[in-house]
Amino acid sequence: MSEVRAENTAVLTTPEQQRALERFYHFEARLLDNRQYQQWLALVSPDIQYSMPSRVNVQVDNRQSGRESMLAVEHELESADSLGSPLREETYIHLMLRVERAFKINSWSESPPARTRRIVANIELMSEQGDELQVVSNFLLYYTRPGTQSVLYSGQRRDVLQLQQGDSTADGYRIYRREVIMDYANIELPTLGLLF
């Protein structure tokens, strides 16, 4: 029989805390879909580690046959910690460069700009230590731009948020770490260079 392990369960939040997290993520999604990237940057810590593991079709290990670990998503990821080849491993400077580029008329792949609509859901607080919160969320992002077929981006974000003390506005958190797990091995998407 299987049992659910402790590290797999979300922390029991108060309704207020859950609503604060949802409010933050919905606000963030709205900024990104409205192309208010400069305001989005204000939600990001200058010390952010922003990464996107690559995902490969792995050889299943026969010795793990019959166990959940056989199909663990983690086996498929070449993350920033690994000696593989992650798709992105960026700092605040990289994100700033992406934001600056967006507001130049010669950012050709998105000029005219792409249209995006994202749904962020399944927001779970996984742990809380002091002001630091580990939160996972899922997203679906619909993306269209001239000359390109519309595509659906699907993935998960594993965040570390920091609560901003004394900040009672909607953006009461800062994104301190973000790892974006995309649901693709072959990248049949126009770009993975968006702000997810």
Binding site: Q59, E78, L83, S85, P86, E89, E90, S107, P190, G193
Partner: protein, 426 residues
């Protein structure tokens, strides 16, 4: 439609159907992908016996593996019984590849080992004749493994020719050579396979325009001032800056100007300075001053020295490409430095690259222009700098400024000849 109608004598005019015609693509399979050396992988990817990675030769799936005898093997990933791929993982280590359909199993070298249902039958097939189809020619140079479907192709050394001089300018800087990090990024783009190739073969000229949002004007001016474009033989080429003698080490050293390095701190910067300090003794004084940009090896292998990535443009029909790219690092660098150097590739190139997102956009847009009707009387103009290339005292091959599009004309002259050879034999 004849190939001669698509590419004129000096290849200054290139027809739109070169990029979009099914018939042309079928000729490319026979005349190019069936007759050239195609890049399969690097020895650093298959170190231990049983290690394997997947590869492609055009659209044909290949298993590249290290046999139990330590030798490298390349076999077509298709079961001799019903044709299914027998290897389903991108990479790994195994003793057997097993077909899902009837469990025929193959050794890592490609030999057929078991036919489970044969014990119920009186006749026994000759298993020695039923292994995976092997790639007829397989050779490697500096750890780079190539295969060819042409049994009579010239040796790889000879095929690479003077490109070895330029490749060694990078490879030989490092006592233990280079290593490929992790699995390739595989990006599916609606584009013809030749345009990413052309882009990396010598088209640094687009940087000042397409990438003006990111690359500062001064950096582009420097490339125009110090840059060279070289064609060692049609289809093979290199672009690089030749830094002035006595230039400061930080200006000459590979990787110093990249963002990961700039943000990475002293350890990585000192490592790159140290590499540069030994460069003259390792690769000679001329090549020590080379600061590479883009390389191309006919037909579809590219090396982006500036951001240290190898790339292969795998066709998927005339209008689609599976563009593979690997982060490449010096094999002897400490792990922490390898991680910094790989980010110089992924932040700017590959599927998430801030620069390459504009490239993939224009490659797709070019396919639109190549697919339209009523404009076949207006082939693309490839005549920039026609005839301005010539020999150079220190650099093998034809040499010119980077704005000269002779690298693309030379590619298309070879391409035309390769396709005409098939056409003539029909």
């Amino acid at each position: 439609m004849r190939i001669a109608d698509l590419v004129n004598a000096d290849a200054s005019l290139i027809g739109r159907r070169c990029w979009s015609s099914d018939a042309v693509y079928e000729l490319e399979k026979k005349g190019i992908f069936g007759r050239t050396w195609l890049f399969l992988g690097h020895e650093s990817q298959i170190v231990a016996p049983g290690d394997f990675v997947q590869a492609y030769m055009c659209e044909t799936p290949i298993i590249l593996s290290r046999g139990m005898d330590g030798q490298v093997y390349a076999n077509i990933n298709s079961c001799s019984h019903r044709g299914l791929p027998v290897c389903r993982a991108d990479h790994g280590n195994t003793r057997r590849f097993v077909c899902p359909y009837h469990s025929w199993s193959y050794s890592v070298e490609g030999n057929l080992v078991t036919i489970p249902q044969e014990k119920e039958l009186r006749t026994r097939p000759d298993k020695s004749q039923l292994g995976l189809k092997s790639v007829p020619r397989l050779e490697s140079w500096r750890g780079m493994i190539f295969g060819s479907f042409d049994e009579n192709i010239i040796p790889l050394d000879q095929y690479l020719g003077d490109m070895r001089f330029y490749l060694d300018a990078f490879f030989e800087r490092f006592p233990q050579g280079i290593e490929f990090m992790g699995a390739p990024h595989r990006w599916v783009i609606n584009a013809n396979w030749k345009l990413p190739v052309e882009n990396q073969l010598g088209d640094v000229n687009h940087g000042a325009f397409l990438h003006a949002a990111i690359i500062p004007r001064e950096a582009q001016d420097k490339i125009a001032e110090l840059g060279y474009s070289v064609v060692t033989q049609p289809g093979h080429g290199a672009t690089f800056r030749l830094m002035p003698e006595g230039a400061p080490v930080d200006d000459v050293a590979w990787g110093m100007e990249a963002m990961g390095t700039l943000l990475g701190g002293n350890e990585v910067q000192d490592y790159l300075r140290e590499v540069q300090a030994r460069a003259a003794e390792r690769v000679g004084s001329v090549r020590a001053r080379m600061k590479g940009l883009t390389y191309g090896i006919y037909p579809n292998l590219s090396f982006l020295w500036s951001n240290t990535s190898f790339k292969v443009s795998h066709p998927r029909g005339p209008g689609k490409v599976e563009y593979w790219s690997w982060a490449v690092v010096p094999a002897d660098a400490p792990a922490a430095i390898k991680k910094i150097l790989r980010s110089n590739y992924s932040s700017f190139f590959g599927p998430a690259g801030i620069l390459e997102q504009e490239d993939s956009e224009v490659w797709s847009q070019q396919l639109l222009g190549s697919s339209i009707d009523f404009a076949d009387d207006r082939p693309y103009y490839y005549g920039l700098g026609l005839g301005e290339e010539g020999p150079h005292a220190e650099l093998p091959g034809l040499v010119s400024v980077t704005a000269n599009e002779f690298y693309a004309r030379q590619f298309f002259m070879r391409w035309r000849d390769d396709l005409q050879a098939v056409e003539d034999a029909l």
